[in-house]
Amino acid sequence: MTSVIRIAAVSKRFGPSTAVDDVTLDIRENEFLALLGASGCGKTTLLRLIAGLEQPDSGAIFIGGDNMTGTPPYARPVNMMFQSYALFPHMTVADNVAFGLKQDGISGAALTARVKEALEGVELETLGTRKPDQLSGGQRQRVALARCLAKRPKVLLLDEPMAALDKHLRERTQLELMALRARLGITFVVVTHDQSEAMAMADRVAVMEAGRILQVAPPRELYERPANARVARFFGDINLWDAAAAPRRPHPAGIVAIRPERIHMSRTPGSDTVCEGTVADVAYLGTASTCFVTTTTGLTVRVLVRSDEGAPPFTPGERVYLTWPASAMMALDP
Protein backbone atom coordinates (compact mmCIF):
# COMPACT_ATOMS: atom_id res chain seq x y z
CA MET A 1 0.00 0.00 0.00
CA THR A 2 1.26 3.46 -0.85
CA SER A 3 1.21 6.22 1.71
CA VAL A 4 -0.97 9.23 0.95
CA ILE A 5 0.45 11.31 3.81
CA ARG A 6 3.98 11.06 5.08
CA ILE A 7 4.85 12.85 8.30
CA ALA A 8 8.63 12.95 8.55
CA ALA A 9 10.28 13.84 11.87
CA VAL A 10 7.83 16.67 12.55
CA SER A 11 8.08 18.77 15.71
CA LYS A 12 5.95 21.70 16.82
CA ARG A 13 6.47 23.82 19.91
CA PHE A 14 4.16 26.42 21.44
CA GLY A 15 6.37 28.57 23.65
CA PRO A 16 8.00 26.30 26.22
CA SER A 17 5.78 23.26 25.59
CA THR A 18 6.33 20.76 22.81
CA ALA A 19 3.00 19.79 21.28
CA VAL A 20 4.37 17.41 18.65
CA ASP A 21 7.76 15.86 19.33
CA ASP A 22 9.67 14.30 16.41
CA VAL A 23 6.71 12.38 14.99
CA THR A 24 7.15 10.13 11.95
CA LEU A 25 4.04 8.49 10.58
CA ASP A 26 2.86 7.12 7.26
CA ILE A 27 -0.84 7.30 6.52
CA ARG A 28 -1.84 4.79 3.86
CA GLU A 29 -4.21 5.26 1.00
CA ASN A 30 -7.86 4.51 1.85
CA GLU A 31 -7.16 3.73 5.46
CA PHE A 32 -9.12 4.90 8.49
CA LEU A 33 -6.50 6.11 10.94
CA ALA A 34 -7.32 7.26 14.46
CA LEU A 35 -5.03 9.56 16.44
CA LEU A 36 -5.79 8.58 20.01
CA GLY A 37 -4.66 10.25 23.19
CA ALA A 38 -5.67 12.22 26.26
CA SER A 39 -6.29 15.94 25.89
CA GLY A 40 -3.06 17.87 25.41
CA CYS A 41 -1.17 14.92 23.89
CA GLY A 42 -0.67 16.74 20.60
CA LYS A 43 -3.13 14.81 18.46
CA THR A 44 -5.12 17.88 17.37
CA THR A 45 -1.90 19.79 16.67
CA LEU A 46 -0.77 16.94 14.43
CA LEU A 47 -4.07 17.13 12.55
CA ARG A 48 -3.74 20.92 12.19
CA LEU A 49 -0.19 20.46 10.89
CA ILE A 50 -1.52 18.15 8.17
CA ALA A 51 -4.25 20.69 7.30
CA GLY A 52 -1.69 23.50 7.16
CA LEU A 53 -3.31 25.48 9.98
CA GLU A 54 0.02 25.18 11.82
CA GLN A 55 3.49 25.07 10.36
CA PRO A 56 6.03 22.58 11.76
CA ASP A 57 9.16 23.92 13.51
CA SER A 58 11.12 21.07 11.99
CA GLY A 59 10.46 18.09 9.77
CA ALA A 60 8.20 17.94 6.73
CA ILE A 61 4.78 16.70 5.73
CA PHE A 62 4.18 15.14 2.31
CA ILE A 63 0.70 14.79 0.87
CA GLY A 64 0.43 12.62 -2.23
CA GLY A 65 4.19 12.78 -2.53
CA ASP A 66 4.38 16.60 -2.52
CA ASN A 67 6.26 18.42 0.21
CA MET A 68 3.70 20.66 1.90
CA THR A 69 6.20 22.84 3.77
CA GLY A 70 5.07 26.43 3.33
CA THR A 71 1.91 25.44 1.46
CA PRO A 72 -1.03 27.37 2.94
CA PRO A 73 -4.17 25.47 4.00
CA TYR A 74 -6.17 26.74 1.01
CA ALA A 75 -3.77 25.03 -1.40
CA ARG A 76 -3.74 21.59 0.25
CA PRO A 77 -5.76 18.64 -1.09
CA VAL A 78 -7.15 17.80 2.36
CA ASN A 79 -10.23 19.03 4.17
CA MET A 80 -10.89 19.20 7.86
CA MET A 81 -14.06 18.87 9.86
CA PHE A 82 -13.67 21.05 12.93
CA GLN A 83 -14.70 19.95 16.39
CA SER A 84 -17.04 22.95 16.62
CA TYR A 85 -18.03 22.26 12.96
CA ALA A 86 -17.23 25.94 12.19
CA LEU A 87 -20.28 26.35 9.96
CA PHE A 88 -20.69 29.87 8.60
CA PRO A 89 -23.65 31.20 10.63
CA HIS A 90 -24.65 33.83 8.05
CA MET A 91 -25.00 31.32 5.21
CA THR A 92 -27.62 28.70 4.47
CA VAL A 93 -26.74 25.01 4.52
CA ALA A 94 -26.44 25.00 0.72
CA ASP A 95 -24.24 28.13 0.74
CA ASN A 96 -22.00 26.57 3.35
CA VAL A 97 -21.51 23.54 1.13
CA ALA A 98 -21.08 25.73 -1.97
CA PHE A 99 -18.44 27.96 -0.32
CA GLY A 100 -15.56 25.55 -0.85
CA LEU A 101 -16.63 24.70 -4.38
CA LYS A 102 -16.82 28.37 -5.37
CA GLN A 103 -13.19 28.77 -4.29
CA ASP A 104 -12.33 26.21 -6.96
CA GLY A 105 -14.12 28.32 -9.58
CA ILE A 106 -17.11 25.99 -9.86
CA SER A 107 -20.32 27.90 -10.68
CA GLY A 108 -23.75 27.68 -12.26
CA ALA A 109 -25.33 24.29 -12.91
CA ALA A 110 -22.17 22.39 -11.99
CA LEU A 111 -22.15 24.09 -8.59
CA THR A 112 -25.83 23.33 -7.97
CA ALA A 113 -25.30 19.70 -8.91
CA ARG A 114 -22.27 19.25 -6.65
CA VAL A 115 -24.05 20.88 -3.70
CA LYS A 116 -27.11 18.66 -4.24
CA GLU A 117 -24.92 15.57 -4.48
CA ALA A 118 -23.06 16.44 -1.27
CA LEU A 119 -26.27 17.12 0.67
CA GLU A 120 -27.84 13.90 -0.61
CA GLY A 121 -24.76 12.04 0.57
CA VAL A 122 -25.60 13.02 4.16
CA GLU A 123 -29.40 12.91 3.69
CA LEU A 124 -29.87 16.64 4.16
CA GLU A 125 -31.15 17.52 0.67
CA THR A 126 -34.38 18.96 2.09
CA LEU A 127 -32.65 21.35 4.52
CA GLY A 128 -30.55 23.33 2.03
CA THR A 129 -32.29 26.63 2.75
CA ARG A 130 -31.94 26.44 6.55
CA LYS A 131 -29.42 28.41 8.52
CA PRO A 132 -27.03 26.48 10.82
CA ASP A 133 -28.77 27.75 13.96
CA GLN A 134 -32.00 26.11 12.77
CA LEU A 135 -30.41 22.66 12.79
CA SER A 136 -29.88 20.02 15.48
CA GLY A 137 -26.37 19.06 16.57
CA GLY A 138 -26.40 15.90 14.47
CA GLN A 139 -27.62 17.78 11.39
CA ARG A 140 -24.91 20.41 11.84
CA GLN A 141 -22.30 17.71 11.97
CA ARG A 142 -23.59 16.27 8.70
CA VAL A 143 -23.50 19.71 7.05
CA ALA A 144 -19.87 20.08 8.13
CA LEU A 145 -19.17 16.64 6.69
CA ALA A 146 -20.96 17.46 3.41
CA ARG A 147 -19.05 20.75 3.17
CA CYS A 148 -15.75 18.83 3.32
CA LEU A 149 -16.80 15.95 1.08
CA ALA A 150 -18.17 18.27 -1.62
CA LYS A 151 -14.55 19.23 -2.30
CA ARG A 152 -13.71 15.56 -2.96
CA PRO A 153 -10.52 15.68 -0.91
CA LYS A 154 -7.82 12.99 -0.97
CA VAL A 155 -7.87 12.93 2.79
CA LEU A 156 -10.60 13.88 5.22
CA LEU A 157 -9.40 15.11 8.61
CA LEU A 158 -11.89 14.89 11.47
CA ASP A 159 -11.21 16.59 14.80
CA GLU A 160 -13.20 14.86 17.56
CA PRO A 161 -16.17 14.33 15.23
CA MET A 162 -18.38 12.79 17.94
CA ALA A 163 -17.50 15.06 20.83
CA ALA A 164 -20.60 17.25 20.54
CA LEU A 165 -23.06 14.40 20.00
CA ASP A 166 -25.01 12.41 22.55
CA LYS A 167 -24.25 8.72 23.05
CA HIS A 168 -27.09 7.38 20.92
CA LEU A 169 -26.20 9.63 17.97
CA ARG A 170 -22.53 8.86 18.40
CA GLU A 171 -22.95 5.16 17.66
CA ARG A 172 -25.12 5.85 14.61
CA THR A 173 -22.62 8.40 13.32
CA GLN A 174 -19.75 5.95 13.79
CA LEU A 175 -21.53 3.48 11.53
CA GLU A 176 -22.36 6.22 9.03
CA LEU A 177 -18.76 7.41 8.87
CA MET A 178 -17.53 3.85 8.31
CA ALA A 179 -20.10 3.30 5.56
CA LEU A 180 -19.17 6.64 3.98
CA ARG A 181 -15.49 5.74 3.99
CA ALA A 182 -16.24 2.38 2.37
CA ARG A 183 -18.37 4.07 -0.31
CA LEU A 184 -16.02 6.98 -1.12
CA GLY A 185 -12.73 5.16 -0.74
CA ILE A 186 -10.87 8.17 0.67
CA THR A 187 -8.49 8.33 3.60
CA PHE A 188 -9.93 9.31 6.96
CA VAL A 189 -7.79 10.65 9.78
CA VAL A 190 -9.80 10.99 12.99
CA VAL A 191 -8.64 12.62 16.21
CA THR A 192 -10.31 11.18 19.29
CA HIS A 193 -9.77 10.75 23.02
CA ASP A 194 -12.23 7.84 23.17
CA GLN A 195 -10.44 4.50 22.84
CA SER A 196 -13.65 2.54 22.18
CA GLU A 197 -14.48 4.92 19.34
CA ALA A 198 -10.99 4.49 17.89
CA MET A 199 -11.16 0.72 18.19
CA ALA A 200 -14.61 0.48 16.65
CA MET A 201 -13.86 2.63 13.59
CA ALA A 202 -10.19 2.61 12.75
CA ASP A 203 -8.07 0.29 10.63
CA ARG A 204 -5.05 1.51 12.55
CA VAL A 205 -4.72 3.54 15.72
CA ALA A 206 -1.81 5.82 16.58
CA VAL A 207 -1.60 6.18 20.35
CA MET A 208 -0.12 9.53 21.37
CA GLU A 209 1.24 10.80 24.65
CA ALA A 210 3.16 14.02 25.37
CA GLY A 211 3.64 14.82 21.69
CA ARG A 212 5.03 11.40 20.76
CA ILE A 213 3.49 8.38 19.09
CA LEU A 214 3.74 5.39 21.42
CA GLN A 215 2.49 2.78 18.97
CA VAL A 216 0.73 2.56 15.61
CA ALA A 217 -1.12 -0.68 14.99
CA PRO A 218 -4.51 -2.20 14.20
CA PRO A 219 -6.82 -2.15 17.25
CA ARG A 220 -6.54 -5.90 17.90
CA GLU A 221 -2.78 -5.75 17.96
CA LEU A 222 -2.81 -2.75 20.30
CA TYR A 223 -5.08 -4.63 22.65
CA GLU A 224 -3.32 -7.97 22.53
CA ARG A 225 0.29 -6.85 22.10
CA PRO A 226 0.65 -3.32 23.49
CA ALA A 227 4.14 -1.90 23.03
CA ASN A 228 4.35 -0.74 26.63
CA ALA A 229 2.39 -0.24 29.81
CA ARG A 230 1.19 3.23 28.81
CA VAL A 231 -0.46 1.90 25.66
CA ALA A 232 -1.87 -1.06 27.57
CA ARG A 233 -3.42 1.27 30.14
CA PHE A 234 -5.08 3.25 27.39
CA PHE A 235 -6.77 0.24 25.86
CA GLY A 236 -9.41 -1.26 28.08
CA ASP A 237 -9.05 -2.71 31.56
CA ILE A 238 -5.76 -4.32 32.51
CA ASN A 239 -3.86 -5.58 35.55
CA LEU A 240 -0.39 -4.05 35.66
CA TRP A 241 1.97 -5.39 38.29
CA ASP A 242 5.54 -4.81 39.20
CA ALA A 243 7.25 -8.02 38.04
CA ALA A 244 8.77 -8.58 41.48
CA ALA A 245 5.37 -8.65 43.19
CA ALA A 246 3.52 -10.63 40.50
CA PRO A 247 2.25 -14.14 41.12
CA ARG A 248 3.72 -16.74 38.74
CA ARG A 249 6.65 -14.40 38.19
CA PRO A 250 7.54 -14.96 34.50
CA HIS A 251 10.04 -12.17 34.25
CA PRO A 252 12.48 -10.90 36.79
CA ALA A 253 12.05 -7.18 36.09
CA GLY A 254 9.76 -4.60 34.46
CA ILE A 255 5.99 -4.73 34.43
CA VAL A 256 3.80 -7.71 33.81
CA ALA A 257 0.27 -7.30 32.51
CA ILE A 258 -2.77 -9.46 32.18
CA ARG A 259 -6.24 -8.65 30.88
CA PRO A 260 -9.04 -9.18 33.44
CA GLU A 261 -10.97 -11.44 31.05
CA ARG A 262 -8.04 -13.89 30.82
CA ILE A 263 -8.24 -14.69 34.54
CA HIS A 264 -10.52 -17.49 35.70
CA MET A 265 -12.02 -17.22 39.15
CA SER A 266 -13.66 -20.04 41.12
CA ARG A 267 -14.87 -20.78 44.65
CA THR A 268 -12.92 -24.04 44.88
CA PRO A 269 -9.15 -24.49 44.62
CA GLY A 270 -7.79 -26.53 41.70
CA SER A 271 -4.48 -28.05 40.75
CA ASP A 272 -3.75 -25.06 38.53
CA THR A 273 -4.60 -22.34 41.07
CA VAL A 274 -2.13 -19.49 40.80
CA CYS A 275 -3.22 -17.51 43.83
CA GLU A 276 -6.05 -17.10 46.28
CA GLY A 277 -7.73 -14.07 47.70
CA THR A 278 -10.89 -12.34 48.89
CA VAL A 279 -13.42 -10.48 46.74
CA ALA A 280 -13.18 -6.84 47.82
CA ASP A 281 -15.65 -5.27 45.44
CA VAL A 282 -17.89 -6.14 42.50
CA ALA A 283 -18.83 -3.72 39.69
CA TYR A 284 -21.77 -5.03 37.69
CA LEU A 285 -21.52 -4.08 33.99
CA GLY A 286 -24.45 -6.01 32.50
CA THR A 287 -22.92 -8.69 30.31
CA ALA A 288 -20.14 -9.09 32.85
CA SER A 289 -18.91 -7.95 36.24
CA THR A 290 -15.49 -6.68 37.22
CA CYS A 291 -14.43 -8.22 40.53
CA PHE A 292 -11.63 -6.68 42.54
CA VAL A 293 -9.82 -9.44 44.41
CA THR A 294 -7.27 -8.83 47.14
CA THR A 295 -4.80 -11.73 47.17
CA THR A 296 -3.14 -13.17 50.24
CA THR A 297 0.05 -11.40 49.15
CA GLY A 298 -1.78 -8.06 49.20
CA LEU A 299 -2.08 -7.55 45.43
CA THR A 300 -5.30 -6.21 43.87
CA VAL A 301 -6.43 -8.22 40.84
CA ARG A 302 -9.19 -7.20 38.46
CA VAL A 303 -11.12 -10.16 37.14
CA LEU A 304 -13.84 -10.04 34.50
CA VAL A 305 -16.60 -12.54 35.22
CA ARG A 306 -19.19 -13.07 32.52
CA SER A 307 -22.77 -12.89 33.73
CA ASP A 308 -23.77 -16.12 31.91
CA GLU A 309 -21.22 -18.36 33.62
CA GLY A 310 -24.04 -20.06 35.48
CA ALA A 311 -22.77 -19.89 39.03
CA PRO A 312 -24.42 -17.45 41.47
CA PRO A 313 -22.72 -14.05 41.29
CA PHE A 314 -19.70 -13.40 43.45
CA THR A 315 -20.20 -11.12 46.43
CA PRO A 316 -17.67 -9.15 48.46
CA GLY A 317 -16.00 -11.15 51.24
CA GLU A 318 -16.00 -14.49 49.39
CA ARG A 319 -12.88 -16.64 49.33
CA VAL A 320 -11.84 -17.17 45.66
CA TYR A 321 -9.11 -18.98 43.71
CA LEU A 322 -7.59 -17.48 40.58
CA THR A 323 -5.92 -19.14 37.63
CA TRP A 324 -4.66 -18.13 34.22
CA PRO A 325 -2.44 -19.58 31.53
CA ALA A 326 1.14 -18.40 31.59
CA SER A 327 0.74 -17.29 27.96
CA ALA A 328 -1.84 -14.68 29.03
CA MET A 329 0.84 -12.69 30.82
CA MET A 330 2.68 -9.97 28.94
CA ALA A 331 5.99 -8.44 29.91
CA LEU A 332 5.96 -4.73 29.20
CA ASP A 333 8.26 -1.75 29.41
CA PRO A 334 6.89 0.92 31.70
Binding site: N79, P89, D104
Partner: protein, 293 residues
Amino acid sequence: MIGTAWHRRIVLALPWLWTGLFFLLPFAFVLKISFSEAALSVPPYSDFFAYAGGAIVGLKANLANYQLLLSDALYVKAYLSSVKIGAIATFITLLLGYPMAYAIARAAPQRRNVFLVLVMLPFWTSFLIRIYAWMGLLRPTGLINSALLSLGVIDEPLLLLNTPFAVYLGIVYAYLPFMVLPLYARLEKLDPALLEAAADLGAKPWRAFLGVTLPLSRPGILAGCLLVFIPAVGEFVIPELLGGPNTLMIGKVLWSEFFSNRDWPMASALTVVLLVLLVAPIMLLQARREDAP
Protein backbone atom coordinates in the same frame (compact mmCIF):
# COMPACT_ATOMS: atom_id res chain seq x y z
CA MET B 1 -44.77 36.74 43.17
CA ILE B 2 -46.17 40.24 43.40
CA GLY B 3 -42.79 41.65 44.46
CA THR B 4 -41.07 40.36 41.34
CA ALA B 5 -43.76 41.74 39.06
CA TRP B 6 -43.35 45.09 40.79
CA HIS B 7 -39.57 44.97 40.37
CA ARG B 8 -39.89 44.16 36.73
CA ARG B 9 -42.29 47.03 36.18
CA ILE B 10 -39.93 49.49 37.85
CA VAL B 11 -36.96 48.24 35.83
CA LEU B 12 -38.97 48.54 32.63
CA ALA B 13 -40.26 51.96 33.62
CA LEU B 14 -36.79 53.46 34.12
CA PRO B 15 -35.72 53.72 30.48
CA TRP B 16 -39.19 54.96 29.55
CA LEU B 17 -39.07 57.55 32.31
CA TRP B 18 -35.65 58.67 31.10
CA THR B 19 -36.79 58.91 27.48
CA GLY B 20 -39.99 60.67 28.52
CA LEU B 21 -38.37 63.24 30.81
CA PHE B 22 -35.27 64.03 28.80
CA PHE B 23 -36.36 63.44 25.24
CA LEU B 24 -40.11 63.27 24.62
CA LEU B 25 -41.07 66.15 26.92
CA PRO B 26 -38.43 68.61 25.66
CA PHE B 27 -39.17 67.49 22.13
CA ALA B 28 -42.87 68.25 22.68
CA PHE B 29 -41.87 71.81 23.66
CA VAL B 30 -39.70 72.13 20.56
CA LEU B 31 -42.50 70.77 18.40
CA LYS B 32 -44.95 73.23 19.94
CA ILE B 33 -42.60 76.18 19.44
CA SER B 34 -42.01 75.17 15.80
CA PHE B 35 -45.68 75.86 15.07
CA SER B 36 -45.64 79.39 16.52
CA GLU B 37 -44.34 82.71 15.20
CA ALA B 38 -41.35 84.69 16.32
CA ALA B 39 -42.40 87.63 18.50
CA LEU B 40 -40.73 90.42 20.45
CA SER B 41 -41.71 89.08 23.81
CA VAL B 42 -40.45 86.85 26.59
CA PRO B 43 -40.25 84.04 25.57
CA PRO B 44 -39.70 85.24 22.00
CA TYR B 45 -42.55 83.47 20.27
CA SER B 46 -46.31 83.69 19.98
CA ASP B 47 -48.72 81.63 22.00
CA PHE B 48 -49.62 78.20 20.72
CA PHE B 49 -53.03 78.18 22.32
CA ALA B 50 -55.77 80.73 21.81
CA TYR B 51 -57.22 81.95 25.10
CA ALA B 52 -60.59 83.48 25.90
CA GLY B 53 -61.46 84.35 29.48
CA GLY B 54 -58.64 82.18 30.90
CA ALA B 55 -59.67 79.03 29.04
CA ILE B 56 -58.06 77.43 25.98
CA VAL B 57 -60.47 77.82 23.07
CA GLY B 58 -58.30 76.77 20.17
CA LEU B 59 -54.87 76.26 18.59
CA LYS B 60 -52.97 78.93 16.71
CA ALA B 61 -50.72 76.48 14.91
CA ASN B 62 -49.15 77.75 11.75
CA LEU B 63 -47.01 75.92 9.22
CA ALA B 64 -45.19 79.03 7.97
CA ASN B 65 -41.85 77.89 9.40
CA TYR B 66 -42.02 74.57 7.61
CA GLN B 67 -43.10 76.23 4.36
CA LEU B 68 -40.16 78.64 4.56
CA LEU B 69 -37.82 75.80 5.43
CA LEU B 70 -38.77 73.92 2.28
CA SER B 71 -38.86 76.93 -0.02
CA ASP B 72 -35.65 78.64 1.12
CA ALA B 73 -32.74 77.06 -0.75
CA LEU B 74 -30.36 77.87 2.12
CA TYR B 75 -32.00 75.41 4.48
CA VAL B 76 -32.31 72.64 1.93
CA LYS B 77 -28.68 73.15 0.91
CA ALA B 78 -27.58 73.13 4.55
CA TYR B 79 -29.38 69.80 5.13
CA LEU B 80 -27.93 68.23 1.98
CA SER B 81 -24.46 69.53 2.74
CA SER B 82 -24.64 68.19 6.32
CA VAL B 83 -25.76 64.78 5.16
CA LYS B 84 -23.00 64.74 2.53
CA ILE B 85 -20.30 65.78 4.98
CA GLY B 86 -21.64 63.33 7.58
CA ALA B 87 -21.75 60.46 5.07
CA ILE B 88 -18.26 61.06 3.66
CA ALA B 89 -16.78 61.52 7.14
CA THR B 90 -18.50 58.32 8.30
CA PHE B 91 -17.08 56.41 5.35
CA ILE B 92 -13.55 57.67 6.03
CA THR B 93 -13.97 56.79 9.71
CA LEU B 94 -15.05 53.28 8.70
CA LEU B 95 -12.04 52.86 6.42
CA LEU B 96 -9.72 53.89 9.25
CA GLY B 97 -11.62 52.26 12.10
CA TYR B 98 -12.09 48.79 10.59
CA PRO B 99 -8.39 47.89 10.34
CA MET B 100 -7.85 49.36 13.81
CA ALA B 101 -10.66 47.31 15.34
CA TYR B 102 -9.49 44.22 13.46
CA ALA B 103 -5.92 44.62 14.68
CA ILE B 104 -7.05 45.09 18.29
CA ALA B 105 -9.36 42.07 18.11
CA ARG B 106 -6.50 39.93 16.73
CA ALA B 107 -3.91 41.21 19.24
CA ALA B 108 -2.83 39.09 22.20
CA PRO B 109 -5.61 39.18 24.85
CA GLN B 110 -3.46 40.93 27.48
CA ARG B 111 -2.62 43.72 25.01
CA ARG B 112 -6.18 44.34 23.78
CA ASN B 113 -7.13 46.33 26.87
CA VAL B 114 -4.09 48.58 26.47
CA PHE B 115 -5.09 49.31 22.87
CA LEU B 116 -8.71 49.95 23.86
CA VAL B 117 -7.62 52.40 26.55
CA LEU B 118 -5.43 54.16 23.97
CA VAL B 119 -8.43 54.46 21.64
CA MET B 120 -10.51 56.01 24.43
CA LEU B 121 -7.71 58.12 25.92
CA PRO B 122 -8.59 61.34 24.00
CA PHE B 123 -12.00 61.35 25.77
CA TRP B 124 -10.20 62.19 29.01
CA THR B 125 -9.60 65.66 27.59
CA SER B 126 -12.41 68.08 26.82
CA PHE B 127 -13.79 67.79 23.31
CA LEU B 128 -13.61 71.56 22.85
CA ILE B 129 -9.96 71.72 23.91
CA ARG B 130 -9.06 69.01 21.44
CA ILE B 131 -10.72 70.92 18.59
CA TYR B 132 -8.91 74.12 19.64
CA ALA B 133 -5.71 72.08 19.59
CA TRP B 134 -6.44 71.14 15.98
CA MET B 135 -6.86 74.85 15.18
CA GLY B 136 -3.38 75.37 16.59
CA LEU B 137 -2.02 72.57 14.47
CA LEU B 138 -3.73 73.57 11.24
CA ARG B 139 -3.46 77.38 11.16
CA PRO B 140 -1.02 78.95 8.63
CA THR B 141 1.44 79.66 11.44
CA GLY B 142 0.61 76.39 13.17
CA LEU B 143 2.75 73.40 13.95
CA ILE B 144 2.16 71.48 10.71
CA ASN B 145 2.89 74.41 8.42
CA SER B 146 5.91 75.56 10.47
CA ALA B 147 7.36 72.06 10.37
CA LEU B 148 6.83 71.65 6.63
CA LEU B 149 8.25 75.14 5.95
CA SER B 150 11.33 74.59 8.06
CA LEU B 151 11.91 71.21 6.39
CA GLY B 152 11.68 72.91 3.02
CA VAL B 153 8.85 70.70 1.81
CA ILE B 154 6.68 73.74 1.04
CA ASP B 155 7.51 77.38 0.24
CA GLU B 156 4.41 79.01 1.63
CA PRO B 157 1.91 77.86 4.25
CA LEU B 158 -0.77 75.41 3.12
CA LEU B 159 -4.35 76.46 3.61
CA LEU B 160 -5.53 73.81 6.05
CA LEU B 161 -7.75 75.58 8.56
CA ASN B 162 -11.18 76.81 7.39
CA THR B 163 -11.39 74.18 4.64
CA PRO B 164 -13.65 71.16 4.10
CA PHE B 165 -10.52 69.08 4.72
CA ALA B 166 -10.30 70.44 8.26
CA VAL B 167 -13.98 69.60 8.88
CA TYR B 168 -13.52 65.99 7.74
CA LEU B 169 -10.34 65.72 9.76
CA GLY B 170 -12.10 67.02 12.87
CA ILE B 171 -15.09 64.71 12.53
CA VAL B 172 -12.98 61.63 11.78
CA TYR B 173 -10.66 62.45 14.66
CA ALA B 174 -13.44 63.12 17.16
CA TYR B 175 -15.68 60.18 16.28
CA LEU B 176 -13.18 57.41 15.45
CA PRO B 177 -13.60 55.70 18.85
CA PHE B 178 -17.36 55.42 18.25
CA MET B 179 -16.54 53.43 15.11
CA VAL B 180 -13.76 51.33 16.58
CA LEU B 181 -15.58 50.16 19.73
CA PRO B 182 -18.68 48.51 18.20
CA LEU B 183 -16.56 47.02 15.40
CA TYR B 184 -14.11 45.65 17.94
CA ALA B 185 -16.94 44.17 20.02
CA ARG B 186 -18.16 42.34 16.93
CA LEU B 187 -14.79 41.22 15.55
CA GLU B 188 -13.59 40.03 18.94
CA LYS B 189 -16.51 37.59 19.09
CA LEU B 190 -15.74 36.19 15.63
CA ASP B 191 -14.77 32.52 16.00
CA PRO B 192 -11.23 32.09 14.56
CA ALA B 193 -12.24 28.56 13.54
CA LEU B 194 -14.53 30.11 10.90
CA LEU B 195 -11.57 31.70 9.12
CA GLU B 196 -9.60 28.49 9.46
CA ALA B 197 -12.52 26.60 7.95
CA ALA B 198 -12.67 29.11 5.08
CA ALA B 199 -8.94 28.65 4.43
CA ASP B 200 -9.29 24.89 4.69
CA LEU B 201 -12.07 25.00 2.10
CA GLY B 202 -9.74 26.74 -0.33
CA ALA B 203 -10.39 30.44 0.32
CA LYS B 204 -7.40 32.75 0.01
CA PRO B 205 -7.19 35.24 2.90
CA TRP B 206 -8.95 38.12 1.08
CA ARG B 207 -11.80 35.85 -0.07
CA ALA B 208 -12.17 34.57 3.49
CA PHE B 209 -12.35 38.20 4.61
CA LEU B 210 -14.98 39.15 2.02
CA GLY B 211 -16.99 35.95 2.46
CA VAL B 212 -16.85 35.46 6.22
CA THR B 213 -15.35 38.31 8.28
CA LEU B 214 -17.03 41.21 6.51
CA PRO B 215 -20.60 39.82 6.44
CA LEU B 216 -20.33 38.67 10.06
CA SER B 217 -19.15 42.11 11.18
CA ARG B 218 -22.02 43.89 9.39
CA PRO B 219 -23.96 44.62 12.60
CA GLY B 220 -20.81 46.26 14.00
CA ILE B 221 -20.37 48.29 10.81
CA LEU B 222 -24.00 49.48 10.99
CA ALA B 223 -23.75 50.37 14.68
CA GLY B 224 -20.46 52.20 14.21
CA CYS B 225 -21.70 54.13 11.17
CA LEU B 226 -24.87 55.23 12.97
CA LEU B 227 -22.90 56.29 16.05
CA VAL B 228 -20.66 58.46 13.85
CA PHE B 229 -23.15 59.66 11.23
CA ILE B 230 -25.87 60.92 13.58
CA PRO B 231 -23.75 63.29 15.68
CA ALA B 232 -21.65 64.23 12.63
CA VAL B 233 -24.70 65.50 10.69
CA GLY B 234 -25.78 67.75 13.55
CA GLU B 235 -22.22 68.76 14.42
CA PHE B 236 -21.76 72.45 15.28
CA VAL B 237 -18.40 72.90 17.03
CA ILE B 238 -16.23 71.26 14.35
CA PRO B 239 -17.60 73.17 11.31
CA GLU B 240 -17.71 76.39 13.35
CA LEU B 241 -14.12 76.19 14.62
CA LEU B 242 -12.35 74.25 11.86
CA GLY B 243 -14.56 74.84 8.81
CA GLY B 244 -14.72 78.62 8.85
CA PRO B 245 -17.49 80.79 7.47
CA ASN B 246 -17.90 78.96 4.15
CA THR B 247 -18.82 75.59 5.62
CA LEU B 248 -22.54 75.07 5.40
CA MET B 249 -23.90 72.66 7.99
CA ILE B 250 -27.32 72.51 9.58
CA GLY B 251 -25.87 72.78 13.09
CA LYS B 252 -24.44 76.21 12.26
CA VAL B 253 -27.70 77.37 10.64
CA LEU B 254 -29.61 76.23 13.69
CA TRP B 255 -27.26 78.10 15.98
CA SER B 256 -27.56 81.33 14.06
CA GLU B 257 -31.38 81.09 13.86
CA PHE B 258 -31.54 80.55 17.59
CA PHE B 259 -28.88 82.94 18.92
CA SER B 260 -28.30 85.54 16.17
CA ASN B 261 -31.83 85.89 14.75
CA ARG B 262 -33.60 84.96 17.98
CA ASP B 263 -36.07 83.06 15.78
CA TRP B 264 -36.91 80.21 18.16
CA PRO B 265 -39.81 78.87 16.08
CA MET B 266 -37.65 78.58 12.93
CA ALA B 267 -34.81 76.94 14.90
CA SER B 268 -37.36 74.53 16.37
CA ALA B 269 -38.73 73.64 12.95
CA LEU B 270 -35.17 72.99 11.71
CA THR B 271 -34.62 70.68 14.68
CA VAL B 272 -37.82 68.75 14.05
CA VAL B 273 -36.97 68.22 10.39
CA LEU B 274 -33.41 67.17 11.22
CA LEU B 275 -34.72 64.64 13.71
CA VAL B 276 -37.17 63.18 11.19
CA LEU B 277 -34.43 63.04 8.54
CA LEU B 278 -32.15 61.10 10.90
CA VAL B 279 -34.73 58.87 12.53
CA ALA B 280 -36.31 57.61 9.29
CA PRO B 281 -33.17 55.89 7.89
CA ILE B 282 -32.28 54.50 11.32
CA MET B 283 -35.68 52.89 11.66
CA LEU B 284 -35.32 51.43 8.17
CA LEU B 285 -31.93 50.00 9.11
CA GLN B 286 -33.31 48.67 12.37
CA ALA B 287 -36.13 46.92 10.52
CA ARG B 288 -33.62 45.32 8.15
CA ARG B 289 -31.47 44.18 11.05
CA GLU B 290 -34.42 42.44 12.64
CA ASP B 291 -35.07 40.60 9.37
CA ALA B 292 -31.53 39.30 9.29
CA PRO B 293 -30.78 36.46 11.71
